[in-house]
Each structure stands twice: as structure tokens, then as C-alpha cells.
């Protein structure tokens, strides 16, 4: 953790201690610095040097909560930000559920949770990585005729939380991301696709060759996609898309959507919403995990828990406020950490071979997942599956269902876990969805 950040942490702690005890306060300080490099056709396109910091102050005065933030960390600005939060609070109306957490608070500064792997780079090293990656993509096939370039992004972040009930925690993390986007062209058709890798530790990122070639393969395989007729059939979601579906699930069990009655999973604790073979666990401690964190956004210590066990929903994800609204306790879920989607059902072969006839969905577009009703309707791109093999690409169709149905219809989960997300899940086989085509 940088000296500046540590000095600022100590200063804020002292300020916190000097504030009146009649009100509740929370400080959240974050800082990040890093470099993004983009190259295209072997030449540098952009270098962006990042350097961000920001302080957010929450004041709760007589059950009224005001929030103010600034990116100017001078003494004068910190003082006026605190005052602004107090002023805003004074104009609001009391809400009996307001209050900062007082239990299970973190009390440990500069925590090492195995997600901080700083590395010194020269800009030229980063440029070389992007040029090399793109070269593998461009040289992969003569139909790879254009490129949107290749990007390397490195960042180091620091996070501090303090509250007037004694919460004090901070940790640092790093992230390394390499991505490549290329365009395949044939017979006046253009198709674009991408590949990327994101990790906490530079040594664990996939190499430029893998990412470059994968982006080329993906773009190429899309060429010549045809439309498809309207039908109902089984579909397989790639691991990346499965992650998206579970992120809608997590949003539907978020306490803030539950108490607002903005969820299709109201009153669902103890109910079977997934098939027997499916369980979901939150684990905040995974080494090098993209979601790993020792405390949540309110400074409550995180812990491992089961969200879904044998298909049954065990808990909502609650922060302090939504927990009070629902007369429950916080689950340290102001935000969430690493989510593991597990299946006890073992499949003999890979998930595609297990399916005689259906569609492999590789891309979805549009925002058609309705958390309130569960209605799901999105544009899609994919490949027909015939006799357990991937066949021709298909485009210009929609897939629709209701998430309650989709969850129950998850027949199997592949072992091909997606590594670029804090939600860890393999491919999903969903027994039936409606395909809208021509």
C-alpha cells in the first residue's frame, strides 16, 4: 500500500475520532493508478495513465442519511465534504431503518488477502505484449482483415473503510487485463469478436498467443451465419453468458430489490428455485480471486456462506439497511465477493456432446432480463448443435423464457469454468427456450 494512502488513512482516522458522537459517520477512501495501452496493426494507438482518488463521506443524523464525495483530498476539501454530508442529512426526512453497522466490524488496516501482486512495467513492455497478441490474431487466417486493436490494462487499487462505530479496514489489489478485438471478412460480410483474460496476478494471465488466436477463431467462426426458424429447443450458454444469467439471479436476491418488492424472487427463502443438483456458495477468501475481499462496502467482515443448497434458496444478500427493512441481519453483502456455481451432476462427456440437437448461444445483446417479473427476452448469436457437434453459425434471432423457468430447466453445468469473472460458472444446458427467428 502506498505511503500516501497510509498517511491519508491515518489522517482520516484522526478526523473520524474528532467528529461529534451524536451523529454516525462513514468514510470510504479509494485510490487507483495504472496504465492502459492500446495498439492496432502493430503500432501504438493510445497510452492512458490513470490516477484516481476519491473520498465518500456518509453522515447519519437522527436517522437521516446524507452522502457527499470529493476527489480533492486537501484538508479544506475534506472538511467541506463532511459538512456537506451533514447539511444534506439535515434536510432529509427520518427513516427508522437508517443506521451504520455496529457488529462484526473489520478492525485491521492494510490486510493482505492475496490479491495484491504489484509489478513494475516499462511502457514498452506493455506495448510489446499488445503488439504480440494482435500479431497472433492477424496472422491466424487471411480472412482476419481488420482489427480494433489489442489492449493491456494494469491497475493497482487501494480501499479504506472507517466508521464511527469502530470499523477500520483497508486492503490493496492489482488487476491485469489483456484483450484483443479483430474482424473477419469474407464475401462482403464482416464479423467481429474478442477474447480477453483478467487476473489479479500478472503471472496467471493467459499468454498473448492464446488470447490473439482465440479472438481470431471466434471472429472467423461467425462468418456466414444464417437466420433460423422460430422454435422451442434446448440451448447451451457459454460460461461467459452463464455468468450473466447468475448475475441477474444475484440481483433478484439482493436485499435492496427484495424490500422494494422489485424482484421475481420475493418470499422465496426455503423454496426450490433451481434443480436438486445445483448449489451456490459465496466465498470471499479465494486466493487471487477477482471478488475476494475481507470486508463488505460497509466494513462488515465477510464470511463464506451457502446461497443455494440442493436447489433451495437459503438466504437473500443483505446489507445493513435492507436487513433492517426486512427485519433480518446483514449478511455482509453490501456488494458480493466470489460466487461459485456448483453442480453435483456429473456428465460423462463435455456438455455439447451431451446434446443431440439444440443451439449453443455465444453472444447475447440487449437488456431483456426483467428482475421484477423474471421475463427474459434477448437478441442472440450462436451455433446449431447437431448430434453433439457444433455446426453452422446462426444469427438474427431472439431467445426468450422466464428466469424462474430457466433456473428450473438447468439440466447440467459444464466443467469449463469462466475465469474472467468473480462469478465462477461453466456452460449451462437449459432444456428449453423459445427461439424467435424468421
Amino acid at each position: 500500500m502506498s505511503n500516501n494512502f497510509n498517511e491519508m488513512s491515518v489522517k482520516l482516522k484522526n478526523i473520524m475520532d474528532s467528529l461529534p458522537k451524536s451523529k454516525e459517520y462513514e468514510f470510504h477512501l479509494s485510490s487507483a493508478y495504472g496504465t492502459d495501452v492500446n495498439s492496432r496493426f502493430g503500432a501504438l494507438e493510445n497510452i492512458q495513465y490513470h490516477n484516481d482518488e476519491s473520498l465518500t463521506v456518509t453522515c447519519i443524523d437522527d436517522k437521516k442519511k446524507g452522502i457527499a464525495s470529493t476527489n480533492n483530498l486537501s484538508d479544506e476539501s475534506i472538511k467541506s465534504t463532511i459538512e456537506k454530508s451533514e447539511t444534506i442529512a439535515s434536510f432529509l426526512e427520518p427513516d427508522k431503518y437508517q443506521g451504520l453497522p455496529k457488529e462484526n466490524l473489520i478492525n485491521d488496516l492494510d490486510i493482505d488477502c492475496d490479491i495484491n501482486f504489484p509489478k513494475e512495467f516499462t511502457t514498452d513492455e506493455l506495448i510489446d505484449l499488445t503488439v504480440e497478441c494482435e500479431k497472433y490474431a492477424l496472422n491466424y487466417d487471411s480472412k482476419i482483415k481488420n482489427s480494433e486493436g489489442c489492449e493491456y490494462a494494469y491497475s493497482q487499487s487501494n480501499n479504506l473503510i472507517l466508521n464511527s462505530h469502530g470499523a477500520a479496514g483497508s486492503y490493496s489489489s492489482t488487476s491485469y487485463t489483456l484483450s484483443c478485438v479483430v474482424i473477419a471478412e469474407d464475401n462482403n460480410l464482416k464479423e467481429r469478436d474478442y477474447a480477453y483474460t483478467t487476473r489479479r496476478n500478472f503471472e496467471k494471465t493467459e499468454n498473448p498467443k492464446t488470447i490473439g488466436e482465440l479472438s481470431a477463431q471466434k471472429a472467423l467462426s461467425r462468418l456466414g451465419a444464417e437466420s433460423i426458424s422460430t422454435r422451442k429447443c434446448p440451448v447451451i450458454f457459454t460460461p461467459e453468458l452463464s455468468v450473466g444469467l447468475f448475475s441477474s439471479f444475484l440481483s433478484a436476491i439482493n436485499g435492496n430489490n427484495i424490500y422494494k418488492k422489485n424482484s421475481f424472487l420475493l418470499d422465496s427463502i426455503g423454496n426450490k428455485i433451481f434443480p436438486d443438483h445445483l448449489s451456490i456458495i459465496e466465498d470471499p477468501t479465494i486466493s487471487e480471486g477477482l471478488g475476494t475481499r475481507p470486508f463488505d462496502s460497509e466494513g462488515i467482515k465477510t464470511y463464506e456462506k451457502s446461497l443455494v443448497s440442493d436447489g433451495i434458496l437459503e438466504t437473500y444478500m443483505l446489507d445493513t439497511y435492507s436487513a433492517k427493512q426486512l427485519n433480518l441481519k446483514s449478511t455482509a453483502n453490501s456488494g458480493y465477493s466470489n460466487i461459485n456455481i456448483q453442480s453435483s451432476k456429473k456428465i460423462d462427456t463435455d456438455i455439447i456432446s451431451s446434446l443431440d440437437d439444440g443451439i449453443l448461444i455465444t453472444e447475447m445483446m440487449g437488456s431483456g432480463a426483467n428482475i421484477l417479473t423474471g421475463d427474459y427476452s434477448r437478441g442472440a448469436f450462436g451455433y446449431l448443435i447437431k448430434n453433439g457437434k457444433i455446426s453452422n453459425p446462426v444469427t438474427n434471432f431472439t431467445i426468450a423464457s422466464n428466469m424462474s423457468e430457466m433456473f428450473k430447466n438447468i439440466e447440467a453445468i459444464g466443467s469449463d469454468v469462466y475465469e474472467n469473472s468473480k462469478i465462477k460458472c461453466g456452460s449451462l444446458l437449459i432444456s428449453e427456450m423459445t427461439i424467435g427467428g424468421n
Partner: protein
């Protein structure tokens, strides 16, 4: 008031001479253009939920970004410490893309003059905090009295004020102050077993009084209730190809996605767009004339000058079906050897400018909306959309409707739910077979995302008919 000019410059002892030296440091023989963008931004938000005005926040973000461009390469660095020595460091870092350390003397000429499309006052200080809270309570009471099926009401009032300064190595410099107000209502209605949501909102570049002293907030509240009510009676949508009539106003988001992004200069310079190299060619039905216009007074998508200091303009993108031009920022205009169009926009000082839309709309035609509906035997009337996305390379786009109806025998019949439209931009524009005379701009709620940067935009269109487009739904 411009806070950069009135506070940041004096408190950090910055003068035009300092800006010239900063730009000299980021310029040199191999640098085609460098610029500095300074911004002081204040954002506030007030939310009423459960009948209580329970959330209030204010965020201040200020800083500067310095860019140095050499041919197709850009160096960019930003910071939030306005000390001269820190800004000089950032300038040198931006120029590190070229090996030469040589600097170039820059003379800032007179301050650019331009037409101001909105007031310079901050909406945030235009009302007292107490008045904002009282207003939210009034709306909340209004909605709850109006409909007994209301389960939840969330009302948000927010605004921002940006003071900006931009100066570049051509010697140009200018200041702009940008107000932006937004009001939003979301209601959830319950009837029997069904619950449905309706939302509506509006806003623009003005102070609160332009919105709050009118009937608009009440009309928008009525609208949110109406949409939720319509959806309570909606039936599943049949999947397949059909004729679709798009309503006027917000459905123009389809143009934004299906055509607009593909006409941004950067994608066309790189030839990654579906519309690359097609200037002068027929890309749409002759009924289609599409315009991007950043010069409309007080609109959410308008800007007096873009984020590179170029005055915005009214640009014809497609005229009677023929592709006329792309939207450009300084860099892409220079590389494509055309004039900048005032479309160089950035989310903040910490982001690089790129060609972006302002207010994008289609001009009205000669039919009436009634004639268009009457011409459809079996199809869909899509009145509102909740979002969309496009792949600018293949042209593929997707939209989700938040309010849509079946059309049967030339008449609007039952509402349908969960409808998604999917198509190919150029393809769909060629299938526009009727355009009404009711061109309308949206209510001022659009936000566009591109490469991780969000900017406020406007959309608009008349009622129009598309023959044969793919619709998604759960029924076969």
C-alpha cells in the same frame, strides 16, 4: 459561473501564460495536436422512496486531462491536483509517446466565442435543498392518491453542473458551463397475482425551475402509472417475423443504435463499421433523413461546444436514404481529411474524447400515425423501449420494448410483454415503408455508452413502419 475560471485559476495562480507553457510541453515537431481539458463537476441526487425523502448525495469531481496526438497515436494523462508543477508533469507524460523532447511554442489567441444554448447557472443552487425535498413529497402524495394499486414509488431528482475549460496547441481556448437536470419516476403496481413496473422521466440543460414550475412532473407521474397499468394486462408475445410500427419520440433510440453508432468517425476511419466507405450510397429507404444536431436549445444531448472546443452543428447523416457524412472529432476528422463536426465528446477529464452523438433524430414524412396503424393487418406497435445495443461491425442490433401492443386488422389491440426486436441496422432502414408527420424528440432521459464512457444524448423520430423484422417472445 465558471468555477475553473473564477476559482481554480486564481487559487492555483494559473494564467494563460502557464497554459501556453503546459501546451508547449505536450507539443513538439511530431505532435499534430495537443490539448488540455479542465473540469469542475458537481452532481446531486435526491430520492424519495417508501414515502420518505431518504437519500441525498452530492459529488464533486475536478481535474484535468492532457492529450498529445501524433498521427494515429495518442498519449493521455490526467490528474486532480491543479498545481502548475503537477500539470507540467502530466503534459510531459502525455508526450512520452514520441521520443523527441523538443517543445513547441504555443500562443493562445483570443478566447473563442460561440452561441450559448443554455444558461450557465447551476441547477443545484437554483433551489434550496428544502424546496427539492418538498417537491419530491408532493409528487409522492400525488401518485399514491391517484392509484390504489401502487406498491412502490421511487422518485428521483438529480442535476449536475460542469464548468469546463479547453485549450489546444492550435491556440484555441474556451470556457463552457453546462447545467443538466433529470427527473425520474418509477412505480410498481399490483393487481391480483401480477406486478408490473412503469417508469417515466424527463430533463434537459436548464435549472430546476424549467421543469419543476410546469405540469411535466405530474404528467410524467401519470405516464409511469399508465405504463405499469398497460403492462398489468399484457400478454405473452409471439416470436417470429412481423411488421412493426414504432411510435414517435423515444423509439428513436433504434436509430441511435441501428445507424448512429455505425456513423461515428472513428469506426469509419478504421473501417470497422458496417457503413464504412459508403458515403454517397443508398443505405436506407428514401423516406429516411437522419440528422445529428447538437445545437437545439436546452436539450439533454446538446452542447454549445463539444469537449474539444468545436461548436456543435446540425449534421445531416442520411438524406432521403443516401449516406451523407459521419460524425467527427478533431483527430478522426484530420485523419480522414474532413471537417470536424462538433461531435468530439468525453465522459470527463479522465477520459479521452471520441466521436459521439448529440441529439439524433429522423425527420418526419407525409403519412399520419393513424394511416400507418390502419395499414397493418397483423403486427406490433412498439411505443416505448427500455434499452438497446448494437454490434457496429455486423450491424446487428437489439431492443427491448417496455410498452408494446399487437395490431390486428388495422387496429391497436392487446398489450404484449417481454418483446425484443432484433435486426440489422442497414437492412432495417431499407425496410422503412411509411413515415408519419409527427416527429418528436424524447423527454430528455437518454444516456449513451461507448467504450466504457457515458454521455447524455437525445433521440427522436416520427411514427414509422418497418416491414418484416424479427421479434422475440415466449410464444411460438
Amino acid at each position: 459561473m465558471n468555477i475553473i475560471k473564477e476559482h481554480i485559476f486564481p487559487s492555483h495562480d494559473l494564467s494563460n501564460n502557464h497554459i501556453e507553457t503546459i501546451l508547449s510541453e505536450s507539443s513538439g515537431s511530431n505532435i499534430d495536436l495537443s490539448d488540455i481539458y479542465m473540469q469542475y463537476s458537481t452532481v446531486e441526487s435526491w430520492t424519495c422512496e417508501d414515502g420518505i425523502v431518504k437519500n441525498g448525495s452530492q459529488h464533486i469531481d475536478s481535474g484535468y486531462g492532457i492529450r498529445a496526438i501524433s498521427n494515429e497515436t495518442t498519449g493521455f494523462s490526467y490528474g486532480n491536483n491543479f498545481d502548475y508543477s503537477e500539470i507540467i508533469k502530466a503534459a510531459k507524460l502525455s508526450k512520452s509517446i514520441v521520443e523527441s523532447k523538443e517543445t513547441k511554442s504555443i500562443n493562445l489567441k483570443h478566447e473563442n466565442d460561440f452561441k450559448r444554448l443554455y444558461v450557465s447557472e447551476s441547477p443545484i443552487t437554483s433551489l434550496t435543498d428544502k424546496e427539492k425535498v418538498t417537491f419530491l413529497r408532493e409528487i409522492d402524495n400525488y401518485i399514491k392518491k391517484k392509484d390504489k394499486r401502487v406498491q412502490q414509488v421511487i422518485i428521483n431528482l438529480s442535476s449536475s453542473h460542469d464548468s469546463i475549460f479547453v485549450a489546444n496547441s492550435y491556440g484555441k481556448y474556451c470556457f463552457d458551463e453546462r447545467p443538466l437536470v433529470r427527473f425520474n419516476v418509477m412505480v410498481i403496481l399490483k393487481s391480483g397475482d401480477r406486478v408490473e413496473r412503469g417508469s417515466a422521466g424527463g430533463g434537459g440543460r436548464y435549472t430546476y425551475s424549467n421543469l419543476l414550475n410546469t405540469k411535466r412532473p405530474f404528467e410524467l407521474s401519470d405516464e409511469a402509472i399508465r405504463i405499469a397499468d398497460v403492462n398489468l394486462n399484457s400478454q405473452p408475445c409471439k416470436a417470429g417475423n412481423t411488421t412493426v410500427v414504432l411510435g414517435s419520440g423515444w423509439p428513436g433510440v433504434l436509430l441511435h443504435e441501428a445507424v448512429g453508432h455505425g456513423l461515428e468517425g472513428d469506426f469509419n476511419r478504421k473501417k470497422t463499421s458496417n457503413f464504412s466507405d459508403q458515403i454517397g450510397e443508398k443505405v436506407a429507404s428514401e423516406l429516411c433523413t437522419v440528422i445529428d444536431d447538437g445545437t437545439i436549445d436546452n436539450r439533454r444531448g446538446s452542447l454549445s461546444i463539444d469537449d474539444e472546443g468545436t461548436p456543435t452543428s446540425k449534421n445531416i447523416l442520411i438524406e432521403n436514404g443516401i449516406l451523407k457524412g459521419y460524425m467527427q472529432d478533431l483527430m478522426n476528422a484530420k485523419l480522414m481529411n474532413v471537417k470536424p463536426t462538433g461531435n468530439g465528446r468525453r465522459e470527463s477529464y479522465a477520459h479521452l474524447p471520441m466521436p459521439r452523438m448529440t441529439n439524433t433524430y429522423m425527420l418526419g414524412g407525409s403519412s399520419t400515425a393513424d394511416e400507418i396503424i390502419a395499414s397493418v393487418d397483423d403486427g406490433i406497435f412498439a411505443v416505448n423501449f427500455s434499452g438497446g445495443q448494437v454490434d457496429i461491425t455486423s450491424g446487428q442490433f437489439v431492443f427491448t420494448a417496455s410498452e408494446a401492443y399487437r395490431i390486428q386488422d388495422g387496429k391497436v389491440s392487446n398489450p404484449i410483454k417481454g418483446m425484443t426486436l432484433i435486426g440489422n441496422g442497414p437492412d432495417v432502414l431499407k425496410k422503412v415503408s411509411m413515415v408519419a408527420n409527427d416527429m418528436k424528440l424524447d423527454d430528455g432521459v437518454g444516456t449513451c455508452g461507448k467504450e466504457g464512457q457515458s454521455v447524455p444524448v437525445g433521440v427522436g423520430q416520427p411514427t414509422l413502419k418497418i416491414d418484416d423484422i424479427t421479434v422475440g417472445g415466449t410464444e411460438v
